[in-house]
Symmetry: C2
Subunit: 447 residues, 2 copies
């Protein structure tokens, strides 16, 4: 029989234990932060009716979606983000769940993207949203969650960039350019790539703006520096326009409230150049950049929207939320040397080298687990050296070594696998001294 | 614009917060138990080459598999279990990872099954395996993990039924029926459904067994009662056959070793009638039944196999493992009234009812989170009664009530939402007395 070559599809990955332990840790931390604000988990199917998924997507995501006919002849697709399923979910269940609905979803999505840009076709998104309220308090909380999340994951040097779509909308109203909003936003979005002059040209050409209008638009999107001076400049630009003034007031309140809640002002930056997509977000928008790796792009983005589920229900559902891109974040942590490779979740290793004493090894391992300690007992009675090599490769931190000599004497050797230091301890009925010593060593290593 | 009806595909489910909180808890407990034995997480893609997935499956799973052509014209399929992907994974990475490889995978699988039997087309499996060792210690550990898992999830009344395929194999050898093993196993598998007489008939008809052979076969598979008497009976039946005697010895050692490790003998039952599939398992096999709901079937099953990845590599990879069926287990827990509905992960609720004090509410919530307490601050400054109704519906346990009177006095009301009892506490800079009182109340409620 010829063998089938074992391989994964292009753009898909196996996660080996050392990588997966890190992924699980980051997902746990993310979940803990979301939960600490009262966001509750929910989940939706990986497969949905194609018409549901095509509903909101643009031409790009439609093209990338994995879709096919199922066994019952239905057209189905694999979810390509968590926003469209959330919209469908909210339309279906919001009556039962009530508002505000605070939810998170940490789940896999699939896109048949071009892998040449180093993109994956399967990746994990970590979304949280507050649905059914227009209260600015929910926008402020969104910024606080992003802040706590980045801190909890281990970043000290990051910047949450904040803007409010009402500011630009207000300026467009004042300049009477609202009709051309799409063209104007598209041109402004290219500012980082094309620069001032080319964007000015585009604004005049496709946006139909006058030189004076272009000057105001670019004065707004290029305003930078200290938050107070940017706010003064922006206030000046939208003066007299209600929408614009509301946007400025909301930004001002967000900055004040996050500071009051204890956030270092360095972590929240006003950035009036952010637009984030053309038509979905309507109020506050957020992007999160790493101080030591800004070029990787935003690792956590989101904003406020007016009408989440308009394709599926006539009920107006405003909301605000953001999404952590797990794979991009992990790539960054890898590059920044923030990950240390460990292939075992159990800190303690017990070599099994007196073949006749399996029952006693099992009893010892069970006792340590009762004491809250993760323990791997080696599966085969091999030579001690071989077993310790295995423990070293896996990244176990301590070994509890008991041979026939120790069993007879009622003792054991506790070995620190990093330093090589060994201490002899009594092995009494409840292994209390051993458990105590292990906890002490693990706490000491964690420092 | 006409609305798209919001709905899920038949056999697929949305998980609302109250259900999802329970699912996450069970998955966490499962993961903690696997980890406490040194099993490490790994993951594989949801989509694989069709030829990989078709490789091992029988006609049934091939038919149920969701498969289609991807954007690059490749034939792909969605994984229908975690065993086939594990086999492919092991063939691909075992050289790098080394043996024994102890891994777990908690992941979603898809099968286009007939939903009329109440089956779902999307469900979660929680598998763990020890690969690359023939040591009986790994089989024993598998039973211990299942035991600890059931206990950790909250079951006191359950039975892990154990058998060893070598026993029946040995008897077939002794009876010179090895050639007809498949037919014999197929007939014996029907024993619970068809009963003694019909199975005896089938054994003679399709298995070609004599009346004396049938008597021995049924004497083996119907042996029941105390472990010692079953073992004596079985020993008698396979006497002189090496395979059979090894099977009996392994069962005997498994029973002794699990008892030595502290497992109550009531939780491990010898059941020589279990066959578990026709050709995959070769040694020990496990099934797990709930004492109060045996009819739901086995919630955690597995066993030892000789050659995991034979389709993908010439390297022989023996192993042993088991799989917890999360959805079946949760259905059982639901039926047994073991789940209590809560829709929030945050125990504490802070009503937001003095609209001018948002900054102070945010500061207070941040302080409680620093103290390790999950807190939801309501998003809108509504009437207190409305907000408390929301808190009640969500299942928050405590409310910290601060209005303008309390802010001025530097106090707050801590209210137990179940009992209605309220205590007044000082609200000083670090909220220490409040944090202490909350921890006390939550610990008290947990008792």
């Amino acid at each position: 029989m010829s063998l089938i070559p074992p391989r994964t599809l292009r753009g898909f990955r196996d996660f080996l234990p050392d990588t997966m332990l890190v992924r699980e840790r980051i997902m746990d931390v993310t979940r803990d932060v979301y939960r600490s604000y009262g966001f509750a988990p929910m989940d939706t199917p990986a497969l949905e009716y194609e018409e549901i998924l095509l509903g909101k997507g643009g031409a790009e995501t439609d093209k990338q979606m994995y879709r096919f006919e199922d066994h019952g002849g239905r057209r189905v697709g694999m979810r390509f983000d968590l926003t469209v399923p959330l919209a469908r979910f909210a339309a279906q269940h919001i009556q039962q769940l009530g508002t505000p609905l605070k939810r998170y979803q940490i789940a896999t999505v699939w896109r048949g993207e071009n892998t040449q840009r180093g993109r994956y076709r399967e990746f994990v998104q970590c979304d949280f949203d507050t649905i059914g309220t227009q209260s600015l308090a929910a926008d402020i909380e969104t910024a606080l969650v992003i802040h706590d999340l980045m801190r909890a994951i281990g970043f000290d040097d990051f910047e949450i960039r904040v803007n409010n779509r009402r500011v630009l909308a207000g300026l467009l109203e004042r300049l009477e350019l609202t009709q051309q909003a799409t063209e104007v936003l598209r041109a402004i979005d290219k500012l980082p790539k094309l620069g001032h002059d080319q964007v000015a040209q585009q604004l005049q050409a496709s946006g139909g703006a006058s030189a004076a209008q272009v000057a105001d638009l670019l004065r707004l999107t290029e305003a930078s520096g200290h938050a107070e001076s940017v706010l003064a400049e922006v206030t000046d630009l939208v003066r007299g326009n209600e929408t614009g003034e509301r946007g400025v007031a909301e930004l001002r309140e967000l900055l004040a409230a996050t500071t009051a809640a204890g956030v270092d002002a360095a972590h929240i930056q006003l950035d009036v150049a952010i637009a984030r997509g053309l038509d979905y977000y309507t109020g506050m928008v957020f992007e999160t950049f790493l101080g030591r790796l800004p070029e990787i792009g935003s690792v956590c983005s989101g904003g406020r929207y007016d009408n989440l589920a308009e394709l599926y229900t006539s009920q107006q559902l405003p909301g605000v939320g953001a999404s952590l891109g797990l794979d991009r974040l992990l790539a960054a942590m890898q590059e920044l040397g923030m990950l240390r490779p460990i292939a075992t979740p159990a800190p303690v290793f017990i070599p099994f080298f007196d073949a006749d004493r399996l029952h006693e090894y099992l009893k010892l391992a069970a006792r340590l687990r009762m004491g809250g300690i993760g323990v791997e007992l080696f599966a085969e009675p091999k030579k001690l050296g071989q077993q310790l090599k295995y423990a070293d490769r896996r990244g176990h931190r301590l070994a509890v070594i008991v041979g026939s000599k120790e069993f007879t004497a009622g003792t054991c050797q506790l070995k620190d696998l990093a330093s090589g230091q060994t201490q002899e301890l009594p092995l009494d009925a409840d292994a209390a001294p051993l458990i105590g010593a292990i906890h002490d060593l693990l706490l000491g290593q964690a420092k």
